[in-house]
Amino acid sequence: MLEIRNLSAGVGGKEILNGLSLTVNPGEVHAIMGPNGSGKSTLAGVLAGRGEYEVTGGSVTFNGADLLEMKPEERARAGIFLAFQYPVEIPGVNSTVFLRAALNECRKARHDEELDSFEFLTLVKEKTKLLELDTTLLSRSVNEGFSGGEKKRNEIFQMAVLEPTLAILDETDSGLDIDALKVVAGGVNKLRRPDNATLVITHYQRLLNYIVPDFVHVLVKGRILKSGGKELALELEARGYDWVLEGAANRNHD
């Protein structure tokens, strides 16, 4: 589904990703872990099409298409969804109007019928239950005045409505208390299907207790230094990122 080969990217001439390779297949959950400044959010931004990053090398294909050639909205319509680390407040843009417009753009791209407001509201009702989301939030402006937890839940709610094939969760656990974390993770788990995939980007192992990954990758200085199964996350939690760094250094000396 997603094939990242030797990807290098940076911002303002400073290289952040440095030859990153990763393959994600349908049905898989991948966790990207790494210390601060390792390039986790840059990876999420490059995949979603953030303009400020400059790709300097490598390739990314998504279901056979050259992802890097696509505009952010084309990526979304092709099935990529980024759950923002810091969801943006957009005063004056109604949540429901926005989300229906977004869904209909994605449906148009898939040659599905657009939903009218009644059909959309039915769908919304069903999906809000999944996230225990207060429906009155949806009559407000996008994220405006939402608490930190409400913003994160709203991200996953949008994901539930848009039904992406590849969801990228960028530090979705940051700022969440344990109850909110369980709700958010529960939502993500219910959305898992054999034909979609999830990329969980996180600093801490905590989230991975609830969203159990098939693969864990350790990102350091812009490249993946170590990959393994879910037990790698626990080992990282116990031994810290330095342990991976030392391991890599030792290998280099061998």
Binding site: I90, P91, V93, L99, E105
Partner: protein
């Protein structure tokens, strides 16, 4: 400049003397003399620093008259809001009774052409017409006072609460460049009446034309008046407007100035809070693109205690457009317990667009609450990316954010068909603008 001024005055001097009862004649003569003294505005004058109206004088100015193309009901249909709203239609400054529908007698509202009224019994006009909009310092108001030929007279009786707003529609249709309509409107809201009036200014021609409109609003005690100006004339034309309101005790004015048209548009929106308990809400939206210049000069004059004013002006400027906002608030010595607020927000979509914004507060009372604020910003890139990352096109995302920016102003308009018209207008207006 003197020659040009003489030319601009003489262009109208031949206007029809029939709309000239003796009491008005002396006012007109005084106004004409005053216009001559004041002179045509230039950018060395503080009030006109940013707004150069001199190119207007390059046009072959002449009094607009109904002698050009025939305008039919079908031509004006797109400008109407609802079939049941009374609508007075003026083509090139002249009333067209055949295209108009007047309010029913039982609504308590009278509406007519001012010219017709002046020709007949003008007594009911004498106390108010040309009594409120000062021509002392404003050349264009003086010019209008001296030479206006027609316009609308709307009067709501005491306690009248008509079901529908009154629509005043002014269209320019002449293909001759320089056709000038000097429109004069008088709107009276009687004691405790509730009246809504929409003035639309539009073009059915691409020729550069000139509008110099003055509207006087008189709000009796306890009256509620919603007055909406919607100016969307062609981008070759010049539009100068003065709205002067006078508010009696406990009256409530809700004024909207929506300016999207003309090459140069200058709007003076002014209200005098002349008795305690009066409330004025001045709401405005200007949408400039290409080389347009849209100027609002507002004056809120707190002359009496315990009055309130709230002013919200938002502007969106693209391309090389130039916006001007100058908001004056006077709080006179007697106007204790005044509560006055003013905000001016601007969204600038291009590096070459300009906004000059200036609050001007002159406060002579000591127990008052006055606040003002002005902002100038661009579209939020993070918000744009957020919307696009959900599948919305770049153009769609920009449109959503522009609509959101204008939204507060649009939503203060209580007339749904007007809001819808504005939404349509907003939808395509900045599609070409760069993110």
């Amino acid at each position: 400049m003197i020659d040009a001024l003489e030319k601009s005055l003489d262009a109208f001097a031949s206007a029809d003397p029939r709309v000239n009862p003796p009491w008005l004649k002396s006012i007109r003569e005084a106004a004409r003399a005053r216009a001559r003294q004041t002179g045509f505005p230039n950018t060395r004058q503080e009030e006109w620093r940013f707004t150069n109206v001199a190119p207007l004088l390059e046009l072959p100015l002449h009094a607009a008259a109904q002698n050009g193309r025939q305008v039919s009901a079908r031509d004006i249909e797109p400008f109407r809001f609802a079939p049941d709203w009374p609508c007075l239609v003026f083509v090139d400054g002249c009333f067209r009774g055949d295209l108009s529908s007047l309010p029913p007698r039982e609504s308590g509202v009278e509406a007519d052409s001012l010219r017709t009224r002046l020709n007949g019994n003008a007594a009911e006009l004498q106390n108010d017409l040309a009594r409120h909009a000062s021509y002392d310092a404003n050349f264009f108001t003086a010019l209008n006072t001296a030479f206006f030929q027609d316009g609308a007279y709307v009067s709501a009786a005491d306690d009248a609460k008509p079901e529908h707003p009154v629509h005043l529609l002014f269209v320019a249709a002449s293909d001759k460049p320089g056709a000038t309509a000097q429109t004069r409107n008088l709107i009276l809201a009687g004691r405790c009446s509730e009246l809504k009036v929409v003035e639309t200014y539009a073009s059915l021609t691409a020729a550069p034309h000139v509008t110099n409109a003055v509207t006087e609003l008189v709000l009796g005690p306890g009256a509620r008046l919603e007055h909406c100006r919607l100016q969307n004339q062609n981008q070759a034309s010049f539009h100068v407007a003065t709205v002067q309101a006078v508010q009696e005790k406990d009256s409530h004015l809700l004024s909207h100035s929506i300016a999207t048209g003309a090459r140069v548009a200058r709007n003076q929106i002014q209200t005098l809070l002349n008795a305690p308990g009066a409330v004025a809400v001045l709401n405005g939206l200007y949408l400039g693109r290409d080389d347009q210049l849209i100027d609002h000069h507002t004056v809120v004059d707190h002359a009496m205690p315990n009055c309130e004013s709230h002013e919200f002006y938002n502007g969106v400027l693209a391309d090389r457009a130039h916006g001007v906002f100058n908001g004056k608030i006077f709080v006179r010595r007697d106007a204790q317990k005044t509560n006055a607020k003013q905000t001016n927000r601007n969204l600038v979509l291009s590096e070459n667009a300009i906004i000059d914004t200036k609050p001007q507060l002159e406060i002579f009372a000591d127990d008052v609450k006055c606040t003002h604020g002005a902002t100038v910003g661009q579209l939020d890139h993070e918000a744009l990316f957020y919307l696009r990352s959900r599948g919305i096109s770049a153009a769609g995302a920009r449109q959503m954010l522009i609509r959101a920016f204008a939204g507060g102003v649009v939503e203060r308009i209580t007339m749904q068909p007007v809001r819808e018209r504005l939404d349509q207008l907003l939808a395509g207006r900045f599609d070409h603008a760069q993110a």
